[in-house]
């Protein structure tokens, strides 16, 4: 198969390679690095879709390289770095911003001393605990790309689990208010792209309604003004 890779700042861009069809995109990249070009740069760690390290774009679609099979990608591949992050080298982009966003948004729980957790408390937040911080959702969010004050799907998904956790005594409603969930355009890019199928957009929708419920946000009747346009 023919594989083209967008290199930064420079490097060989086209490869011809034979791959077993069941091989993953990450195995393809490893093979190229081992056999063709040791300067080819990408990140990887767990190989099993749980650490969120190896996100790249292939044929225009953001994926975890370890979790997609070559056979499902067609005969020609074009691999490029994720959008929305500074490119460091080849397919490696700046991930520090992911962690900086979490720090600025104070995405952590402040422990209560006394609490009761019942199974249903956790059912609601279960999926948002499965976020692996791969950064794909933010990379496809059109609102974030405009540099607005929107918190973005990654941070809002991560925060969701703390909003409904009986063990959290942090005043996260104000925190949530500052992240402006109402700026979401509900384009669903994040939910389609999430490799863990976590539906960030659904979390954001609920968070927005929570602010309305608590009187922190006014829902305009019928209009689209509150969406931020």
């Amino acid at each position: 198969m023919v594989v083209r890779i967008k290199r930064h700042p420079a490097g060989r861009e086209e490869f011809n390679v034979d791959m077993e069809p069941k091989a993953t995109l990450l195995e393809l990249l490893i093979k190229l690095k081992e056999e063709e070009d040791p300067t080819l740069t990408f990140r990887s760690m767990c190989r099993a879709g749980i650490c969120g390290t190896c996100a790249v774009k292939v044929n225009g679609k953001p994926v975890l390289a370890c979790s997609v099979r070559v056979e499902n990608l067609g005969e020609e591949l074009f691999i490029e770095p994720l959008e929305g992050y500074r490119i460091i080298k080849d397919l490696a982009v700046e991930h520090e911003t992911i962690y900086e966003r979490l720090r600025l948004a104070k995405v952590w729980l402040m422990p209560a001393q006394e609490y009761e957790v019942l199974p249903h408390h956790l059912e609601r937040v279960s999926r948002s605990h499965e976020c692996i911080l791969c950064g794909i959702c933010d990379s496809v969010c059109p609102v974030l790309q405009t540099g607005s004050s929107f918190g973005g799907p990654l941070v809002l998904t991560r925060l969701y689990k703390h909003l409904y956790d009986p063990r959290n005594i942090k005043q996260d409603l104000e925190n949530l208010f500052g992240l402006n969930p109402q700026l979401c355009t509900h384009c669903m890019n994040c939910s389609y792209a999430c490799p863990k199928r976590l539906m960030p957009e659904a979390h954001i929708r609920e968070e927005e309604l929570l602010l309305v419920d608590k009187g922190l946000l006014r829902k305009e009747s019928g209009g689209f003004e509150f969406l931020g346009f």
Partner: protein
């Protein structure tokens, strides 16, 4: 150069738990160093859970029963006082995690649920579906992020330790993103860099980065390693890739089936069946394959893990990740078909020698080690499933306290210009190196040698030839050039550094295995198939003196249970 009271190298569960504890005193400045990002550490891959005798599923369980199971599982090589300490502290660290927000699976009344696990006499393993390590890692990371006196050094690679022969004084790091070498001066250093089961390159459940960097750096600096010949092979690695399917598969009632359709564990552990400890189940599978009762041949042989009788609902509720991994990486949906599996290198029972289990201190003053990179020893010759996460939580907590309190008592040691330059000079030398050896070839060869000769079955001949061949590979390593000349995100250079660490450790594993002429836990010698308590009920300690390896033995602390035959 920057100064920190405590520098923690490695930001998985062990490193983060340690850092949180050290940072409890706001006057203490803590640095957390990782060659990846904290949430990408291999703790996140732990699926099944962690053991603590909460007595929620069965009130007759107790820390004493947990300790006994652990000691028996260790084939009596664990230090029993350390095991009792861990098991007694276990419930409290689980409740701590619960307060911090880990979404443990619950019983209907809200108490934390517990499931059966291999080698355990009660259902004792607390869990969060089958993504326990992931939620634990992310919760610890968020708690560490919340503390203002913790600074993160993400994507920094450990090059060296600085010390004066008596006391540690700092660490030398390579900044992967921009190629600079920096020094962090420290009063206390905690190594928490994880295991090195990647020395079995092609057949390892481990993440690509589990190359034993902290263990190798300690070893090169004269610190002994303990019991490193004991490598755990997990019974249920996916046949094609070695990716791990959780022990929860067996805990929830999965069957292991051979080509004749038999639940073959009947032959090896009739009482515990599939829930026998990992070393026994792995050997049983390999026997079945060897006797022609497996599927396929050679390196692609396998047996089947059958979950179908659990039903779709239970598989989806309790084993969702297992199901997804089997679908993504083996092309099999366990709801409808049995999954091909084969034992795979998984965990290093041995590691950096810990002198005092209450503090996790090493022979070098001010240096501590925690988690898989350390050997306390609580796992002895074989670790029970669910005991690695509890180990890193308990000993991380107490190492964090020790490092913090030690840092309060001492001053920084001076660092010379020569020490500041050494790391930079080493990197420059690597860039200038010439040669025709290929990194990928040597790494692959290392994986073949370890799997074939230092694997599940070992003998004198295989081990001595492995030792010789790995020594040769180390010489050839000197002739691998750095092809990528860039200083920006040079993964070619990092892989070269990692390969040196793995080769040095692999050679030491073969050396220690060669000298342990008995079979115990994960170490099985076909030429010495019996456990030999008269000669080998002791820990092996190995030092690297220049190019030579030196071995000594140390007594096992037997405080509660006299060694007995290990039957399940």
């Amino acid at each position: 150069m920057r100064d920190y009271d405590v520098v923690v190298v490695g930001a998985g569960g062990a490193g983060l738990r340690t850092a949180i504890e050290s940072a409890r005193d706001p006057s203490i400045r803590v640095a957390v160093v990782s060659k990846v990002y904290p949430t990408r550490s291999h703790t996140g891959a732990a699926q099944g859970g962690l053991n603590a005798a909460l007595g929620n599923a069965d009130p007759s369980d107790s820390p004493e029963a947990h300790a006994f199971d652990t000691i028996k599982g260790s084939d009596f090589l664990a230090d029993q006082d350390a095991v009792y300490f861990m098991c007694q502290q276990a419930p409290e660290v689980v409740y701590e995690l619960d307060r911090w927000g880990v979404p443990f699976s619950r019983l209907p009344d809200g108490r934390i649920a517990q499931r059966p696990f291999g080698g355990a006499s009660f259902p004792r393993t607390v869990f969060s579906a089958d993504r326990t390590g992931h939620v634990l890692l992310h919760t610890l990371f968020e708690q560490a992020l919340a503390r203002e006196n913790i600074d993160f050094f993400n994507e920094f690679f450990l090059l060296d330790l600085l010390h004066d022969g008596q006391r540690v004084k700092g660490v030398v790091l390579y900044d992967i993103k921009n190629g600079e070498v920096i020094t962090l001066r420290a009063k206390a250093v905690v190594l928490a860099t994880g295991g090195f089961a990647r020395i079995y390159w092609q057949r390892s459940t481990n993440a690509i980065g589990n190359t034993g960097d902290g263990v190798a750096v300690a070893f090169r600096n004269g610190i002994p390693l303990k019991d490193i010949e004991f490598i755990q092979f997990h019974p249920t690695g996916l046949s094609k890739t070695g990716i791990l399917l959780s022990e929860a598969c067996r805990g929830e009632g999965g069957y292991l089936i051979n080509k004749l359709g038999e639940r073959f564990m009947q032959r090896y552990a009739p009482a515990k069946m599939e829930l026998a400890p990992r070393d026994m189940v792995s050997r049983a599978i390999e026997y079945e394959i060897r006797e022609g009762r497996g599927f396929g041949e050679g390196t692609s042989a396998y047996v089947l893990l059958d979950l179908r009788h659990l039903g779709e609902a239970k598989i989806k509720e309790r084993l969702p990740q297992v199901r997804q991994l089997a679908i993504d990486f083996e092309g099999v949906d366990p709801v409808y078909d049995p999954v091909p599996i084969r034992p795979t290198a998984h965990y290093c029972m041995g590691g950096i020698h810990i002198e005092n289990y209450k503090t996790s201190s090493t022979p070098l003053e001010g240096l501590y080690a925690v988690g898989e990179c350390a050997c306390v020893s609580v796992h002895g010759a074989n670790r029970l499933g669910g005991n690695s996460l509890i180990e890193l939580l308990v000993f991380g907590k107490f190492a964090g306290i020790s490092a913090r309190e030690y840092a309060k008592q001492v001053d920084f040691l001076p660092i010379t210009q020569g020490e500041l330059r050494k790391g930079e000079e080493y990197i420059e030398k690597l860039f200038k190196r010439e040669g025709t050896e290929k990194l990928a070839d040597i790494r692959r060869r290392m994986g073949e040698i370890t799997w074939e000769k230092v694997g599940i079955f070992r003998d004198e001949k295989s081990l001595s030839s492995a030792y010789e061949e790995l020594s040769e590979l180390l010489e050839r390593w000197e002739r691998i050039p750095v092809v990528d000349k860039s200083r920006i995100f040079n993964t070619n250079l990092i892989e070269l550094l990692e390969l040196r660490n793995m080769l040095e450790l692999a050679r030491a594993v073969a050396f220690c295995a060669l000298h342990r002429r008995e079979s115990r836990g994960g170490h099985y010698r076909e030429d010495f198939p019996e456990r030999d308590d008269d000669n080998f009920l002791k820990h092996s300690l190995v030092w690297q003196d220049g190019d030579r390896l030196r071995l000594e033995y140390k007594e096992v602390r037997i405080t509660h249970h006299q060694p007995a035959e290990r039957k399940y």
